[in-house]
Structure formats: structure tokens, C-alpha cells
């Protein structure tokens, strides 16, 4: 019921002790409240005047019982909040230290859900599980002992109900669970279906079907309702069973007590006492059952977050590298990488020296991006024999290497921050003058003029989406501001741009590549002529390397590739 991990949490045993004391106190207040009330009522029944002292006792016990609940809630709230925030911090530290590799493995959406909703569920779980379990372990026992003293038989009858309730809940719970799991699948299908048809609503409209589809949305939803109701009929039976046995046992006890009273075996005071205590005897298990599902989610989230935090780190090589200079060498030998699906990249061997521009060409899926990610250290090779600036290493995940990288993907990420912060991202100390210069050089003046608050205007997805060309220019402006970073890595930077923007951008990019080591993955042919050296990828293999002229003269795959890429090239 309780996760073992929970006991490992800081302060777990202290909180358990505190809670145990609180629960014991609570049980005594429950008893005090019940006995005082039945004493008051018995007195009144006998025709006596109201015993104000006893009534006051009832009021005090009632108020104290609620007060102690309030205090328990406060303690647990603070504790569970602290646990949750610690967990969140650990998780996020992991994410922002490991970067892309982890994000790709987990998926952006799932990571964020875990860090926000997941952690909140854990908080709820920690809060509920301690109090509910302890209440269930302590309160009914003390209440039972009290009832035993009042009237043996009734207490035993009520006790016998307990296992019966648990048994029925388990049986019905299982039956419902199977159905509910299936139905949950259906629910996913339906809500996906609904979102699906909303997402495709323009396609439906283009096909002239959108109006008719409205009815089918209703029909689907109604179908789903009918099926869900069928499941609920079963699922709610477990609550019904719980309800049924508790209320019925109270009714039975009342009748039993009635007979005993008539036969003079018992007095009114203990009889009333038992009747008042009976609902409180069952309350803990009802509460627990009610929150059971909420705790399940939290339990799963807790497990998953802990697993993620404990997952092994991507290996890092801490080598002291200097800024890349004209004489530095990078020698890659026998570089391999295995995808989860089993496909393999490599072995790849090449050697570069100084400020070269390396083009990487190949069709989609040939392994260009993977090679780029291996070189930048975002992925860890399954095998590699690398020598960089004379140091041996088996991964490029080297902090000193990444410190000098400028990485520009197909769609550079534009943060929902001001234009200034976006451009100065790598160089936050840049002055406005430097930033304006970068904007000017990269041809972003028009954008700047369009922004109502100039440099302070917040851009990015939610606010003001930029075109692909503008995002590229921002990435280039970042690079322009940071001349100390000597290695540039491009992954298809212009593939999705229109030809005119592409040519315009090319004139901005080329000067940035001066005096830098450049890796440039592309399938746009005009870039190749700018490259000093070209790596040709096909199906994960490096099938050729050399200068453009070399390859054109000697490499048949390269020649075919170029030919194919030009389409039916008419030799005008």
C-alpha cells in the first residue's frame, strides 16, 4: 500500500510519529464527542433538565477533533510540499544538465507533464497516503475498543462487517478495473478522435465534408456515453457495496440494540454511544476508498520520476581544450552509433585540421543529423576512437568543446523572450549597440521596425511567431555576437526556406564561417561549392569524402546523388 521509496524520504519517520500522536488524539476526541452526546441525550430522554456541562464537553470534543484535523492538514501540506519541490528541482536539474539526449528519449511533452502535473500528483499522494493509512490503522481500533466496552455484541457485529466490506470492494474493484482500463483506452480514442477531427477540420472543409461531420461527432460521443455508462454501472458497484454494508450494519445494530433495550439487557447511554460511534468507525475506510484512485496516479508518477532521476547519466569527458585554432586537429576513427531500433551508423573515419568547412551530404535518413549530433556531443557513440587537440576520447560530450559550439538546426528555437534576450542568449552581457549591429548585419531591421516595443518586444511561439527565415537570422545574430565560439554546426539550415531567402541568408552566413571550423549538413547543392571538404553519407555509411572536385571526378555515388537532386536536369 505504501511505496518503500516513501520511507526513504527525509523526515518520513518524524512525520509518522507526529501523525500517530494526532490520530490517537483524534480517536479520543471522537469517543469523547460520542459519549458526551449520548449522555446529554440520555439525560434529556429521562426527562431531566439539560446538563450544560456535558453539552459543553460535547462541543469542546467536537471542536477539538476538527481542530486537530486542521493541524494535521497543515503539517502534511507543508511536508508534502517540501518533498514535491525537492523532487521537482532534482528532476529539472537532471534535464537541464543532460539536455537534448534526455529530452529526446522522454519527449518534451511527457517531461513537462512529469515536472509539473506529475510532481503535483506526487504531492497529493504523499499528503493522502500518510494520513489515510495511519487513520485507518489507528482510529477504528481505538473506537472498536470503546464500543467493546459499551456493548460486546454490537462491537463484534460491526467488526465482522469490516472484512466483508474489504472483500466486496476487492472483488467488485477488480471486475470494474478490467472494464475501466478498457474503457479508459476507449476514452483516449474518443478524445483523440475529437481532437483529431478538430485538427483535420480544414482538410474536411477543403473536401466539402465539414458540415456533415458534425453529426458524426455527436454520434461518436453518444456511443461513447453508452459504453461508459455500462462501465460505470459496474465500477460504481464497489462504492455501492461500501455504502450498503456500512448503512446496513448501522441499521442492523440499531435493531439489535432496540431488542436488547426492550429486554433490559442494556441501558440507553451505551446504546446511543454505539449508534453515534458506528459511522466514525467506518469513516476511515470510506475516506481511503474515495481517494484510492487519486493516490494511484501519484504513486505511478512518483515511481517514474524516481526512475528518471536515477537513470544513468550520459558519459561526459572532462578534457581541457583550448579554443579551436588553425593548427588544431580532430581525428575521428571507427565512430559508430546504434539506434534503439537496431540500425547502425558507421564506422566513420575522417580527419580535419584548422578552420575548415566540412559539408555533409546525403538523402533524408542517410544519417547526416546523427553524425552532426555525435560531433556536437548531443549523442553518445556506441564506439569511437577520437583524438581532439591531441587528447584521446570516446565521446564528444566535452564541456570545453560544447563551450565553443554554435549549433544551428533547421528550425532554430526562438524563446518566448524579448528580441534582445533572444539575440544575446549566448552573450547576455552584450550592449544594445552590439545587438543592434547584429540585427543590422543579419538583415533583421525590418522585423525590428515592425515590433511595437522594439528590442523589448516579446517574440516566439506564443507571442509573435517568426518565419523560418527570421528564426535563422536570429540564430545567426547570436553567432555574430559571440565571435569567441570557433566551431559552427549547421543541420539543414535552409532546407525549408524559399530560394530567395536562402540566397540572401547565404550571403550572411559565409562571412560568419571565416576563421571557424564548420560542419554543414545539407541537401541543397549550391552549398557544396563553398565547402573545403565533403562527407557523403548513404544508409548510415560514409561512402565518400574529399573536395568537391575530387568527388565529382571519382565518386560514382556522389555523381548519381547530384544528378538525382537536380531532377531532370536540363543542361541549359
Amino acid at each position: 500500500m505504501i511505496d518503500r521509496q516513501l520511507f526513504k524520504l527525509a523526515g518520513a519517520s518524524a512525520i509518522m510519529r507526529k501523525l500517530a500522536v494526532i490520530e490517537i488524539l483524534q480517536a479520543f476526541f471522537i469517543i469523547g464527542q460520542a459519549l458526551a452526546l449520548s449522555a446529554v441525550l440520555t439525560g434529556l430522554w429521562k426527562g431531566h433538565a439539560l446538563n450544560w456541562l456535558l453539552l459543553l464537553l460535547f462541543i469542546v470534543c467536537f471542536a477539538l477533533r476538527q481542530l486537530i484535523n486542521t493541524i494535521r492538514d497543515a503539517i502534511l501540506n507543508k511536508y508534502s510540499g517540501k518533498i514535491a519541490e525537492d523532487l521537482r528541482e532534482k528532476l529539472l536539474t537532471k534535464v537541464f544538465n543532460e539536455g537534448q539526449a534526455l529530452v529526446q528519449k522522454q519527449g518534451t511533452g511527457s517531461l513537462i507533464t512529469m515536472a509539473l502535473d506529475g510532481v503535483d500528483e506526487v504531492r497529493q499522494y504523499v499528503k493522502l497516503i500518510y494520513s489515510k493509512v495511519l487513520t485507518m490503522m489507528i482510529v477504528p481500533i481505538i473506537v472498536f475498543i470503546c464500543m467493546l466496552c459499551l456493548n460486546c455484541l454490537s462491537a463484534v457485529i460491526l467488526l465482522l462487517m469490516y472484512p466483508l466490506i474489504v472483500l466486496f470492494m476487492i472483488i467488485l474493484g477488480h471486475a470494474a478495473q478490467d472494464k475501466a482500463i478498457k474503457q479508459f483506452g476507449r476514452f483516449q480514442v474518443l478524445s483523440n478522435n475529437f481532437i483529431d477531427s478538430l485538427r483535420g477540420i480544414d482538410t474536411l472543409k477543403y473536401l466539402g465534408l465539414s458540415k456533415r461531420y458534425s453529426k458524426s461527432i455527436y454520434r461518436l460521443s453518444e456511443n461513447f456515453r453508452k459504453k461508459t455508462m455500462a462501465v460505470l454501472k459496474v465500477a460504481m458497484l464497489s462504492t455501492f457495496a461500501l455504502d450498503f454494508f456500512t448503512t446496513l450494519s448501522i441499521a442492523i445494530i440499531a435493531v439489535f440494540l432496540g431488542f436488547d433495550l426492550m429486554n433490559g439487557k442494556i441501558n440507553l447511554f451505551p446504546a446511543l454511544g454505539i449508534l453515534i460511534l458506528a459511522p466514525d468507525f467506518f469513516l476511515p475506510i470510506r475516506d481511503f476508498a474515495g481517494d484510492f484512485h487519486a493516490t494511484l496516479n501519484g504513486k505511478n508518477a512518483f515511481k517514474r520520476i524516481n526512475e528518471l532521476i536515477a537513470a544513468p547519466k550520459e558519459p561526459v569527458k572532462k578534457i581541457a581544450l583550448t579554443d579551436w585554432s588553425a593548427n588544431d586537429e580532430l581525428i575521428i576513427n571507427d565512430l559508430r552509433f546504434n539506434y534503439l531500433k537496431g540500425a547502425e551508423i558507421g564506422p566513420i573515419n575522417f580527419k580535419i585540421k584548422g578552420y575548415q568547412k566540412i559539408g555533409i551530404i546525403g538523402m533524408s535518413g542517410s544519417g547526416k543529423s546523427t553524425l552532426i549530433n555525435l560531433i556536437s556531443g548531443f549523442l553518445t557513440p556506441s564506439q569511437a576512437d577520437i583524438e581532439i587537440e591531441g587528447h584521446k576520447t570516446n565521446t564528444m560530450n566535452i564541456p570545453d568543446w560544447q563551450r565553443q559550439l554554435i549549433y544551428i538546426p533547421q528550425q532554430p528555437y526562438v524563446f518566448s523572450k524579448s528580441l534582445r534576450e533572444n539575440i544575446a542568449f549566448y552573450h547576455p552581457e552584450a550592449t544594445d549597440q552590439e545587438i543592434l549591429q547584429a540585427i543590422h548585419v543579419m538583415g533583421l531591421d525590418d522585423l525590428l521596425n515592425d515590433l511595437p516595443k522594439g528590442l523589448d518586444t516579446v517574440i516566439g511561439q506564443g507571442k509573435r511567431a517568426l518565419s523560418g527565415g527570421q528564426a535563422q537570422r536570429i540564430a545567426l545574430a547570436r553567432a555574430f555576437l559571440d565571435p569567441k565560439r570557433k566551431v559552427m554546426i549547421f543541420d539543414e539550415p535552409t532546407a525549408h526556406l524559399d530560394i530567395e531567402t536562402e540566397i540572401d541568408l547565404k550571403t550572411k552566413m559565409l562571412p560568419l564561417m571565416q576563421k571557424r571550423l564548420v560542419f554543414f549538413a545539407t541537401h541543397r547543392l549550391h552549398w557544396l561549392k563553398e565547402m573545403d571538404y565533403i562527407l557523403v553519407m548513404n544508409h548510415g555509411q560514409l561512402v565518400g569524402q574529399g573536395t568537391f572536385a575530387d568527388l565529382q571526378a571519382n565518386n560514382s555515388y556522389f555523381i548519381d546523388l547530384i544528378h538525382g537532386m537536380r531532377g531532370e536536369s536540363n543542361d541549359q
Binding site: L37, L41, L44, W45, G47, A49, L55, A63, Q66, L67, E85, L92, F96, Q100, V103, L111, I112, F194, L198, G200, I201, D202, T203, L204, Y206, L207, G208, K211, Y218, E222, F224, R225, L232, F240, F244, T247, A251, A254, V255, L257, G258, F259, L261, L272, L275, M363, F378, Y413, G460, A465, G469, A495, D498, I499, I503, R524, L528, L561, R566, E568
Partner: protein, 582 residues
């Protein structure tokens, strides 16, 4: 003061809650009745049990004298869980039923402007929000509106019942339960509602913030500033946590106050019992315990009200968002039937997006003849996509005209789909079988026809290899259509639709040149004879077109056949050379 409750403001001009409550009135009333009955049975059980015990304690000679309370005790004991079970089924059924209609209404609202969502990001955001809104409104019904109505019913019973026995007590209960039902929930909304709203906003902000930064995680890692962001985020989280603590603290003391007011109700019932029945024969005093005990089980009908009221502050945004959607469109366009040849004519077309002041197109003139193949090029923002939606009649030019065989394209409404087909950048495949996806083009298509179009787009062999062929779900695990294949499927759908005009809106962006060329070749051969309008971002495959126009700043600045342009335009030659890497 009441005006300060946000949900009430949101409900004023509402199309999403009140009409639905009215529409399903009968089930709602039944559910409320059952809800009240549940608590009535609960109270009844304790009432009868209390009376039974008291009566038995007086040692009646004959068991028959307590027969009625015995039967009633048992009856209430059985009825309470049964009624509760039925009530939960009825109320859930009620909500699901409304949700069905609700979804339909939401769909109809969106359908109206379906083609004018600007960017896919925005669309995704809107959809995520809207589907959350559906569940929020469900919660509003089930967790706020329904329990409130049950509590009101119970309130009425308690006040009227006791008022009938003694009017003064009825009045007193009117006040005490009035505190419970109105004062505490309203107090809660007013004090904590703002906090709850703030918390929700903070949460949304954190969500957006974290998404933003996780998506840009590479830049954080490379810039070496990851820990700086983390510090900031943790600080925000901490702030949120503190707000939450303040809110929770209020809730705890509010709930404590609630319990004390309830205690007041119980104690006043005991004291009233003493005055009404006390210090007399047991015939009278038997009732004291009955009344005092009956109140205990009803507490749960009221305990959730303050929280439920406070929660409505979260739902307010959902409700406002939904109410701001346009109402469904009432389309009464004239029936239009056109015959070949089809000719499109643009005369001096000007267009500015609503609520902006930058004119996108200024003075466009163009004729597209039947069967012509036209390519439209231009930078992003030059107005290519705007032109596409104008051509299809989804938007109306500010001045000038766009006509198909002399009739303005915006006059067609949905009938335009009989003449125009579109394939855009991300052809949408619905989450159903391949066959069903294709049949969207023609619902009556036979399997033979489906295979025929699949063959024409070059996918027949691939689909044949799938174990379930046409019946394979497009999203099933392991089966992922590559970019090129998606476009081919979209083309197959269009071929089934068989419209005379096809508009391709940058369909090959992001494909590698070899795949791209193959897709273009298929498009060109299969759409032979149709009028083809192809918006493209570079010059791959351009030589197969009859006419090419370049848009810049909302105007045509180059126009002609590819051959003419190559011969006469220096700029065209440069672009073409660059594209080919010559």
C-alpha cells in the same frame, strides 16, 4: 458584491452552460431529486435509529409498538446506498449527454473559420485549450452546479420541515444553514477566488515557460547557462508554492469555521429538542435523540460547497473562451453549377487582414486558363498563402474581384469543394484506416477505385504489403508514413475527389530533393488535364509548368513561361542556377 463573483459574470451572456441545463432539464431534475433523496435517507436512517433506540429503552410491552421504526430503519438503510448508486449513474449520464451536444456545438463553432487559422502552432494551442475546456465544463456541472442544487433542496427541506414543527426554529435554521450555504461559499470565492485565479495563471505561465525552455534545451546546455534558468524557475515555483500555502491555510480555517457552524446547528437542535420535547413523558423525549442524530449524516451534502464555489474561478476562463468563439454559421448560398472550361480571373485584387493595417496584396491581375499549370513563387510573407485562400473563396478581397467562370469565389460556400482541391504542407491523415482516409475524397468509392488511385500515386505495393491492406490504421505502431508518402496519400484522396482545379500549397517543403522530385513527377503526370496552381518555395521541377509568377510585396514582379523567363530574366537565371547548385 455578487457582481464580483467571476463565474456569474461569465454566465451572463452564455451559450455553453445555461442552454444545456435547460435542454436536459428533466434528467437534471431527476438527478437532483435523487441527490436530495440520498441525504434524506441518510438522515432518515439515523432519525429512525435514534427514535427506535429511545422508544425501546422505554421498554414497551409489545414488540409491535416499535415495528414501524424497525422497518423504516431497515428501509432507509437499504435505500440510501441504492438511491445514491442510481443518483450517480443518472448524474453522470446527464453530464455525458450534455458533453455530446457540447462537443458538437464546439465543432460547429470551429468549422466556420476552419480554413482561416493562421499557423499550425496557434491551432494546436487552441485545440489543447478547448479540449481542456470541455472537461472543465464537465467539472463545473458535476462538481459545482449539481451539488449546489442538491444542497439547496436539502436546505429547503430542513427549513420547511422544522418551520412546520416550530416556526421560530425554522427561521433560526434558515439563518444557520444560510451561513453554510451562502455566506461561507461566497466568502470563499471573494477571498480565495482571486488567489485561485492567480495560482492558475502562475501555473499556466510556468507551464508555458518550462515548455519553451525545454524545447530550447540545447541552447541552454551550449550556452552553459542552464543553472541560471533553473534558479529562476525554482524561484517561480517557490512563489507559486507560497501562494498555494496561503490559499490552503485559508481553506483549512474556512473548513474549520464550517464545522463550527455545523456544530452550532446540531447544538441548537438539541436545545430546541429540550424545549420542545424535554422534561416530559418519554412519549415526547423519544424524539430528541432522533432529531439530534438525523443532522449528522447530512454534513457531507454541505461540506464540499465552499471548495466547489471557489473552483468556479478556474472554470471562468474556459467559459469565457468558449463564449468568445463565433456562433455556428448559417449558410444559405445559392446552388451553383458550372461547366467546363473553367477559367479563373483576378482583377485588381487588394487584401488586408482584418485588424491589421499592412496591405498584403495590392492590385493583383491574373488569368488562369482551363488546364493551365501555374507556379507561384515568392518569399515568405509575400502573400502566396493569402492568395490561395482568396482563390478558394475563404477570404473576400477588399477590392477587385476573383471569379471562377464569372462568379465570385466567395459566393460558393462549401460548394467550392466541388471545383477546388487543396494539398498543403502537412496533408492531414485522420486517425482511421487508410481506406477511410482515401474515401474522404469520395465516400462511394469501391475498393477497386481505391487500389486504382493508390497505384497511380505509387503506393499500391507498399499498402499491399501491410497485413490488413486498406484496413490498416494509419497511426498504428510501426507504420509511419514518411513525408513523401503522406503527400502521395493526400494526392490519392484528391484524385478520387476529381475536381477540375487543384491547388498545391508548398506541398514539398522539407523533403530531400530526390524524394521531392519524385513526388512532383507523380503530381504532374496524375493531374494532367486539370488546372494546377502550385505554390512553391524553390525551383525544383519548375520546367514542367506553363506559367510562373513571382510575387513580391503583394505584386507580381516576374511572369512568363519558364523558358521565357530563362531567356529574358537575369534574376530568374540566377535563382535557377543557385537552386541547381551550378
Amino acid at each position: 458584491m455578487i457582481n464580483r463573483i467571476p463565474i456569474l459574470k461569465a454566465l451572463k451572456n452564455d451559450r455553453w452552460v445555461r442552454p444545456f441545463l435547460k435542454r436536459y432539464k428533466k434528467t437534471l431534475i431527476l438527478a437532483i431529486f435523487l441527490g436530495i433523496l440520498t441525504f434524506f435517507c441518510g438522515g432518515g436512517l439515523m432519525f429512525c435509529a435514534g427514535y427506535l433506540i429511545s422508544r425501546s429503552a422505554a421498554r414497551p410491552e409489545n414488540i409491535l409498538l416499535v415495528y414501524v421504526p424497525i422497518v423504516l430503519t431497515r428501509a432507509f438503510g437499504v435505500f440510501r446506498p441504492a438511491v445514491r448508486y442510481v443518483e450517480r449513474l443518472v448524474s453522470h449520464n446527464w453530464v455525458f449527454r450534455m458533453t455530446s451536444k457540447f462537443r458538437q456545438q464546439l465543432y460547429d463553432s470551429l468549422e466556420r473559420d476552419a480554413t482561416n487559422f493562421n499557423s499550425k502552432y496557434q491551432l494546436g494551442d487552441i485545440l489543447g485549450l478547448l479540449s481542456d475546456d470541455v472537461s472543465h465544463i464537465q467539472n463545473l456541472y458535476l462538481r459545482s452546479i449539481f451539488p449546489m442544487m442538491v444542497a439547496w433542496g436539502l436546505y429547503a427541506i430542513i427549513v420547511i420541515g422544522l418551520g412546520w414543527l416550530s416556526p421560530l426554529m425554522g427561521l433560526w435554521m434558515l439563518v444557520v444553514f444560510g451561513l453554510i450555504i451562502f455566506a461561507i461559499p461566497i466568502w470563499s470565492v471573494l477571498v480565495n477566488g482571486a488567489r485561485q485565479t492567480y495560482e492558475k495563471q502562475m501555473q499556466d505561465k510556468l507551464y508555458a515557460d518550462l515548455t519553451d525552455n525545454v524545447m530550447g534545451v540545447n541552447d541552454w546546455v551550449l550556452s552553459g547557462r542552464g543553472s541560471a534558468f533553473l534558479k529562476l524557475h525554482v524561484k517561480d515555483q517557490q512563489e507559486l508554492f507560497e501562494v498555494d500555502q496561503v490559499m490552503k491555510k485559508f481553506e483549512r480555517w474556512r473548513d474549520y469555521t464550517f464545522q463550527l457552524v455545523y456544530l452550532l446547528a446540531i447544538v441548537s437542535l438539541i436545545i430546541w429538542g429540550m424545549f420542545r420535547f424535554g422534561q416530559r413523558d418519554t412519549y415526547y423525549t423519544n424524539w430528541i435523540a432522533a432529531f439530534a442524530l438525523a443532522l449528522f449524516p447530512t454534513v457531507s451534502a454541505f461540506a464540499g460547497l465552499p471548495a466547489a464555489a471557489q473552483e468556479t474561478n478556474i472554470y471562468k476562463d474556459s467559459l469565457n473562451r468558449l463564449n468568445n468563439l463565433p456562433g455556428p454559421e448559417v449558410e444559405n448560398k445559392k446552388a451553383i453549377t458550372l461547366k467546363a472550361p473553367y477559367e479563373i480571373d483576378l482583377k485588381d485584387v487588394h487584401y488586408t487582414y482584418p485588424k491589421t493595417d499592412k496591405e498584403i496584396l495590392h492590385g493583383l491581375n491574373l488569368t488562369i486558363k482551363n488546364g493551365e499549370k501555374l507556379a507561384i513563387l515568392g518569399r515568405s510573407g509575400a502573400g502566396k498563402s493569402t492568395l490561395a485562400s482568396l482563390l478558394r473563396g475563404d477570404r473576400t478581397p477588399d477590392s477587385g474581384s476573383i471569379t471562377l467562370n464569372g462568379i465570385s469565389t466567395d459566393q460558393f460556400g462549401d460548394q467550392i469543394a466541388n471545383y477546388f482541391s487543396i494539398i498543403n504542407q502537412n496533408p492531414y491523415l485522420f486517425n482511421t484506416t487508410i481506406g477511410n482516409n482515401l474515401r474522404l475524397g469520395n465516400e462511394d468509392a469501391t475498393d477497386d477505385q481505391l487500389w486504382d488511385v493508390l497505384r497511380r500515386v505509387g503506393l499500391d505495393q507498399m499498402v499491399e504489403k501491410l497485413p490488413q491492406g486498406l484496413e490498416t490504421e494509419v497511426d498504428e505502431a510501426g507504420l509511419r508514413f514518411s513525408g513523401g508518402e503522406r503527400h502521395r496519400l493526400a494526392l490519392a484522396r484528391i484524385l478520387l475527389k476529381d475536381t477540375p482545379i487543384v491547388l498545391l500549397d508548398e506541398p514539398t517543403v522539407g523533403l530531400d530533393p530526390i524524394t521531392e522530385q519524385a513526388v512532383i513527377d507523380t503530381f504532374m503526370t496524375q493531374l494532367k488535364g486539370k488546372t494546377l496552381i502550385w505554390i512553391t518555395h524553390h525551383l525544383q521541377g519548375i520546367d514542367q509548368m506553363d506559367q510562373v509568377i513571382f510575387l513580391e510585396d503583394g505584386k507580381i514582379y516576374m511572369q512568363g513561361s519558364p523558358k521565357e523567363l530563362w531567356q529574358t530574366e537575369q534574376r530568374y537565371r540566377e535563382l535557377k542556377r543557385a537552386d541547381q547548385g551550378l
